[in-house]
């Protein structure tokens, strides 16, 4: 046992001293922080208020535009050639010139400095609505107050409610669940491959260096194999821990330097919207309602299964890694170089690849037969179960899947150990599947 610890510590220390480990450890958090910071930065950047001057020759659109959180509309009439200069002076950010009134499908937007990307879309959308409403009112002679009522009634909003086994209702937000599941699935796939390949290379290195026989004259082959697998696992966990700590550190530093960087725009805007509810049109009201629900539902989601999710993530990463690394170790012991390893790696990695290929259909229907079976079969469950968990998985299914994975790991480790102890002593021979079966039986 003492010697196994010695092997683990060598595997661990030589790896974390490597340049590639240090680079990965630094790059990882930078990448993660960038993934969080850059979108926020873009939001901040494009968030500046835009004042649009509407010049409508026919006054059809006078006071018809509704201000959004970023875009404010003002109205003036006069010579467009004079008015459009107002965007040069900076008085307005853009000048909208509606050429032919309600019949027209052409307008010009003048600006001096590039406005936000969404401005044109916002204006087009609003204009279309105004034109459509106006046409409806005109065609059917509906009184404007009645039209507003009708419009309010025709607004629909769907609230997704998930019912657990006790019949309790939970609001859920399936889009985010799906995305988190997919991201987690990809991460697990990536890490399993990355760290299991390290085990493969390490086994191969000892074999091609010819140091392996020196080592197994001192320790049992199984100690060597397990020491390696555990050592690499600890490297992986260290890397995760450092990533998390460093990412939080980077984000913390940004928070300190720019205190309101992570302030969610929606929250402040919602409050002001709710305060001004009296003045809001029915349409705006419903947008505000929808936003409140999104926030609530994100919170609901996190409070519901986030801790389960994190535990499951570590469990399935660790067990998935252990399972695949034993198989990779067996493959590494049976061949003489990395090129030869491909033929034996193929069948081992097919379940992983298949799961990744089917990740979208499984995320679409997390409780369908495909996702269910894949989340139970040990070779695919580390990825498939992670996809399902955010959408809610009954406890017994989760435990069954975990149990099967652990049992299957022990089975694979037993087989791998048999292949490993024979394989590491075979030099310069072309190994076939028949040989592998003989080694297992032997």
């Amino acid at each position: 046992m003492n010697k196994t610890l010695l092997i683990i510590s060598r595997e661990y220390l030589t790896r974390i001293k490597k340049k590639s480990f240090i680079i990965m450890t630094i790059l990882g958090p930078l990448l993660m922080a960038a993934l969080i910071v850059v979108p926020l930065y873009i939001v901040h950047k494009s968030e500046k208020e835009t004042h649009v001057l509407v010049v409508d020759d026919n006054d059809y659109f006078l006071n018809k535009f509704t201000d959004t959180k970023k875009v404010f509309f003002s109205y003036l009439s006069g010579d467009i050639n004079d008015l459009k200069k107002k965007c040069i002076s900076g008085e307005y950010d853009a000048v909208l010139h509606i050429l032919g009134g309600i019949q027209s499908n052409r307008s010009n937007l003048y600006y001096h400095k590039e406005p936000s990307l969404s401005l044109r879309g916002t204006i087009e959308e609003q204009m279309n609505k105004i034109i459509f409403d106006k046409s409806l009112i005109d065609s059917f002679n509906i009184a404007p107050p009645l039209f507003a009522t009708l419009k309010e009634r025709s607004q629909t909003h769907i609230v997704a409610l998930q019912i657990d086994e006790h019949g309790n209702e939970q609001k859920s937000f399936t889009e985010i669940n799906r995305i988190i599941g997919i991201v987690a699935g990809f991460l697990i796939y990536f890490f399993i491959f990355m760290f299991a390949s390290q085990v493969l290379r390490s086994v191969l290195e000892e074999k091609t260096n010819r140091i392996v026989e020196v080592l197994i004259a001192s320790v049992r082959p199984i100690q060597l194999m397990l020491g390696k697998i555990i050592g690499v696992a600890l490297v992986g966990l260290t890397q995760f821990a450092l990533w998390i700590v460093l990412t939080i550190g980077i984000l913390g530093a940004i928070q300190l330097s720019t205190p309101d960087f992570f302030q969610l725009e929606e929250t402040t805007e919602l409050v002001s919207n709710i305060d001004n509810q009296a003045q809001l049109t029915p349409a705006d009201n419903s947008i505000a309602l929808q936003k409140t629900n999104i926030l609530n539902e994100i919170n609901n989601f996190y409070s519901f299964s986030f801790s389960t999710f994190i535990i499951a993530f570590f469990f399935f990463f660790l067990m998935g890694y252990l399972l695949y690394s034993t198989l990779f170790a067996a493959v590494g012991s049976a061949v003489d170089n990395e090129t030869d390893s491909q033929q034996f790696l193929m069948p081992v990695t097919i379940p992983l690849l298949l799961t990744i290929i089917l990740i979208m259909p499984m995320a679409e229907d997390p409780n369908g037969a495909l996702a269910w079976w894949f989340s139970m079969i040990p070779l695919t469950s580390p990825i498939a179960m992670l996809i399902r968990i955010p959408s809610g998985v009954p406890l017994w299914e989760l435990l069954t899947s975990m149990g099967l994975l652990v049992l299957f790991f022990f089975f694979c480790a037993w087989i791998a150990a048999k292949i490993y102890r024979t394989g590491i002593l075979m030099y310069g021979q072309k190994i076939t599947y028949r040989d592998l079966f003989k080694w297992i039986k032997y």
């Binding site: 010695l6 030589t14 140091i211 026989e213």
Partner: protein, 319 residues
């Protein structure tokens, strides 16, 4: 009855000095029989040459001794007790297929390998310093293995094989990769280890070094033991009654009257002497041969020619 008692006594006496006893070992792999009914023993403090052509089963036997693989049947006693995992720390093994971690520093690696043999870190460092000094490679302590020449790597490997001072040392082709000077150094080290009480198994194809340092021989061929014994006994057993004679003068006419039971196998004329190799057919004795020469010429040298291990090896393996 009396004889039986003597045999029992003899057995007991032998057992005391026996380090390894191998009894009826069988080992087969999926496609061939690697060892078949191999038995022999190794006394404490001797150097045993484990010889045989490629594929004879030497490496299999060595791996069984190291408990890397296990025999199908038969038993091995180590100090009169069945070979056990704990004996691993009393064995030092230098495999034929050997190497080191290329990217690891020499000293660090040597400490690691020594600790795997059960030494404490402190002890390992102390002993390594001693050996590195002895082999004049101290300056390599902090270098990576890939920067070392093959010969230097072999030195490091030799050091980590003997570092835990095991009772049994197994060297499989220890001289490969060494130049003549380092081969000599290594031979001397092996002899020193023997003097210090270690028992050594030397597996090699280098017959010259076998003759130089081995006390006993076990010869395997096609998975069976075909020869065993002390080197001197084996040489006696295989001797062809050959003698070399050198005598003064350049006249060899008197040899025409050499009796029938002496056969001249080779004759070489030197500047002012003649060398012969003569085979004597028993029961004639060397002295009889000398008696024939003495009246006729001045004898400069007379010596028995024993077969070399090389000749014995080829003869027994090909017969």
């Amino acid at each position: 009855m009396h004889q039986n008692v003597i045999r029992e006594k003899e057995k007991k006496r032998r057992k005391i000095v026996e380090l390894i006893r191998i009894n009826n070992i069988y080992k087969s792999f999926s496609n061939h029989q690697a060892l078949e009914d191999v038995s022999f023993s190794i006394s404490k403090g001797v150097i045993l040459g484990l010889l045989g052509p490629n594929g004879a089963g030497k490496t299999t036997l060595i791996r069984i001794l190291n408990q890397i693989i296990f025999p199908d049947s038969g038993e091995i006693l180590f100090n009169n007790k069945p070979l056990h995992r704990k004996h691993i720390e009393d064995i030092g093994y230098l495999p034929e297929e050997r190497g080191l971690y290329k990217k690891m520093k020499v000293g660090e690696q040597a400490i690691y390998l020594a600790r795997l043999k059960g030494l404490s870190e402190h002890e390992a460092i102390q002993r390594l310093k001693y050996w590195f000094k002895k082999f004049e490679i101290e300056s390599w302590w902090n270098r990576k293995v890939e920067e070392l020449s093959k010969g230097m790597q072999q030195k490091v490997q030799f050091i980590v094989t003997v570092i835990h001072q095991p009772g049994l040392l197994i060297f499989d082709e220890p001289f490969s990769g060494f130049d003549p000077i380092n081969t000599e150094i290594l031979k001397q080290e092996i002899l020193t280890l023997k003097e210090n009480g270690a028992t050594i198994i030397l597996s090699t194809h280098n017959m010259a070094s076998v003759e130089e340092i081995c006390d006993e021989i076990v010869l395997l061929n096609r998975s069976k033991k075909i020869l065993e014994g002390k080197l001197v006994d084996i040489k006696q057993h295989f001797k062809k009654h050959l003698f070399s004679i050198e005598f003064a003068g350049t006249s060899s006419d008197f040899l025409n009257s050499l009796p029938e039971n002496y056969k001249i196998l080779s004759q070489q004329e030197n500047y002012n002497s003649i060398s012969l190799t003569v085979q004597i057919t028993p029961p004639s004795q060397p002295n009889d041969l000398l008696n024939f020469f003495i009246p006729n010429t001045q004898i400069l040298s007379f010596q028995e020619v024993l077969p070399s291990m090389n000749e014995i090896f080829i003869e027994t393996v090909t017969s």
